[in-house]
Assembly symmetry: D2
Homo-oligomer: 287 residues x 4
């Protein structure tokens, strides 16, 4: 017998009066208590409404399935809602892809072991061997899929197979230095998080720290975003910067940048795990 369901309801729909009332009335009638709610309306021209409601339901007569069925019929369908409910009691499956740099990986694995990231990590995939031991020391399987000029499509297929077999909910590119093909990206839409080592849209593409140095900027940054087929142009989840000066050589920027990358990627991953991010076109709503 299932009791005490905690859920996070995410909604996108045309904006009109009565949505909050309808949803909260439904949850109340089911015996649920609303723990937290955030909403956002776009400008009237676009006229869209977004909401995240977390609730607790301690009603033995309800299963998740029944709740969702009722919600669809009574609330969602009449209002043309796109929606989903996530249940924190089911831990998300997070796959990490990484190349040679260990700082983002280290940050994620350390926080995961500390209990800060409530996910399972069924596997780490890398195109290099350097971090194998490091990953396995955390008790996580490491898959080596080296990529060269000829085998990329093949290795991506292999990666997709591994990721699917692991029932992965999302993929984190923790400084994975290969550009994923449109085929790969299309398999996991809105489910691949990348960390780019610049303050996008400045310095997209390769060598952002070198380019930042050449331009003489006084702040460097990092950007976590969902991957789309437009390189470094996907919806931004989080960004941050650090102050630099003429004293910083490129190598200093790289070192300092590591710390920003670690923090920004972590915040984006936690927001994603908490179901606080809604993708809307090429932008995000982060509740």
């Amino acid at each position: 017998m299932q009791t005490d369901i905690t859920g996070r309801l995410l909604i996108s729909c045309p904006d009109r009066p009565g949505i909050v009332a309808g949803v909260s009335q439904f949850l109340y009638a089911c015996g649920a208590n609303i723990l937290d709610a955030s909403q956002h309306s776009t400008d009237p021209k676009e006229g869209l409404f977004f909401m995240r409601m977390s609730f607790q339901l301690d009603n033995p007569s309800f299963t998740k399935e029944q709740l969702e069925k009722d919600f669809q019929e009574k609330v969602a369908a009449p209002r043309q809602m796109e929606w989903r409910i996530d249940y924190p009691d089911r831990r998300k499956q997070m796959v990490i892809m990484v190349s040679r740099y260990d700082h983002c990986l280290m940050e994620l694995l350390w926080r995961w072991r500390s209990g800060e990231l409530p996910v399972d990590i069924p596997l780490v995939i890398s195109n290099h061997l350097e971090l194998k031991q490091f990953v396995e020391d955390f008790g996580i399987p490491f898959h080596y899929l080296p990529v060269d000029a000829g085998n990329k499509p093949l290795q991506e297929q292999e990666a997709i197979k591994l990721i699917r077999r692991a029932n992965a909910d999302f993929i984190v590119l923790a400084r994975y230095m290969q550009i994923l093909s449109p085929e790969f990206v299309s398999v996991f839409p809105g489910r691949i998080i990348n960390i780019h080592h610049s303050f996008l849209p400045a310095f997209a593409g390769a060598n952002p720290y070198r380019n930042a140095y050449n331009r003489g900027v006084k702040l460097i940054g990092a950007t976590a975003h969902y991957v789309t087929n437009d390189l470094d142009e996907g919806p931004i989840i989080d960004q941050d910067v650090a102050r630099v000066s003429h004293k910083h050589e490129v190598t200093d920027l790289i070192l300092l940048g590591r710390d920003i990358e670690r923090q920004v990627l972590t915040r984006a991953v936690i927001a994603h795990i908490d179901d606080r991010v809604i993708i809307h076109g090429n932008k995000t709503i982060v509740f």
Copy 2:
């Protein structure tokens, strides 16, 4: 005929299921559209619920009075709510008290003239004459109430009279360098905002920059808070800091501090004007 009411509903009450449903259902039934909603529950032991809902009501059959009467009867009374509705179409009356430093005053008046602060400023009160011309150039009446060892109670009574006559909603101490008596404070509970030139609770009282210098801190700060009878211990609305080093003499800290004071006080005043602050004991909820 009154139409198109915009309102901001603030609620504090014991936490229990159905509050959001009850309130939003009520507003929907009245024909109101919820523009924005934020809520906060304290830990279960304390068990309190706070909410801010802004709504738009375009229903010619409703007056503000009717809306409030109905809300009290149908929603608030059964749930032991403390509540109020503020209507942005009624501009708040903001009185500023200031001594000799002009930076916070300048910031507020400039933003007010730019339209960023949707308030009226019926008067400025000062215990010094230095800023008279400056204030009057903005078309605002300036009242000079000098304070000395003997006349403080008298001058405070005079200030209270002026403030009441102006129907002031709240008072901003923009570096007013006199400690207000408990009698004065008790007349305007939760309605006096002060800017203290330190990161409270560090360096409460006089000469915070001197004390920060002597302690050798690497950040200095400012704190905007509601005034209570415990000096510098009222509920904090906002705080911020700036980085300093051994190179900063006390005079440098004072200069740098000005900028933090201006920003923090402005943010706190705007939050207050927008009805985004709820005082709860000695703390604030800032939605």
Copy 3:
């Protein structure tokens, strides 16, 4: 009889041993006390050395002219130095150009009146009339030079004449919304400071806040830089950012951006006044 000279010596030259020794020995021999010194060496491949030394000279037998003549002969010439000495006792002449937005202008004028900007402001030039009264209230002459499709070269010539007549040391574009011609820029190389309302190189050109909104960035910024003939590509002096979210509409970004623009432009102007900026190619060294 001239005594008690305070000076700021700025040097660029090929890096090699003995520069600090040579310069400090020279100043010591003249009876000067070094108050502060900063230096920077570029990477060995480029091999350049930059230094700023502020000193105090209380030697009745020395004039500024003598000091500079001796320095050139004994220290600078043998080491192929580019150098200059600025004397804070001669206040720099700062001309401001502005269009309609008052926030940067207000910030500069208020700080100037407060004594924070040790300059004279001989005139303000604008292509609009809106800020005339505002400027004249500070006791500063206001020159109206409207620009249209046909008269730009003429009005620029007029501006150059006014600026030269005022013996201006540098020009601040406090949101001056006209692109200056190469002819104008070439008259004041390294002496025009602009504030651009984005985090350059992101969102160069027109409508940066609109573009930032469309891109969905989570931070907006401002950049102060010297003007060159490449639009928004001159040497950056300072930058800063503020956090934004999906809740910020374009108008919110504009409002929030104002505060960053004010701060960044102020810091850049103060650095320039203090002779702490050396331009090196398309970058700056800010001591």
Copy 4:
């Protein structure tokens, strides 16, 4: 035969003309090239001068001993200098003391392995066993010295013995939750770095996050400082803060605080390793 010495000279002495000239002239005469120099003068009343100069000496006829002997005779003695030269080619020995929390330890060890901390870590001392495996996985000896009501003096003596045997240059308390006795502190004056989990002087002592929560502050912080016999009152090396709101429970503050502690402690340790910190009374000069 020793060549190519890199050194960092740190000086404190009475301020008077000619110090920079004297020192730089000496180094030049020895054949040294000054890589970087920073100086600081206190206010004239106190009249002290501090300088850090890093230099490179490629002169086979000089040993470190000879350099230091000459410097003392020719430069330091006549000017009553306190001074020392550190040589980066001799890696400092850093001992870490820790209790149960792993976040600061993890950060230090990870950076050490990445090569960002150019030190040796001869041992880690803990009063708990939890982190033994974690430390030994890095190849670092772990010493368990449990402390109870009765054995503290004894265990401190044991710690002193271990630290001395390791020729430790300095000790980092990476969340070591025991108060060190005056006897212990006096053995390592200016050589023990602690991380305190608040923005000192606010919330000194125990439970700073709980106290910050109760006070309702809008920023929490961390402070790295040298340990003296006045609890949490030693010279501050670095501080930082993060923004919090009414939504943060004490457990959230603790989690968020971890990240600030890690960053602040790291920056302080790196400054110490780089010989950029001079202690002056109860304050620091951090070049």
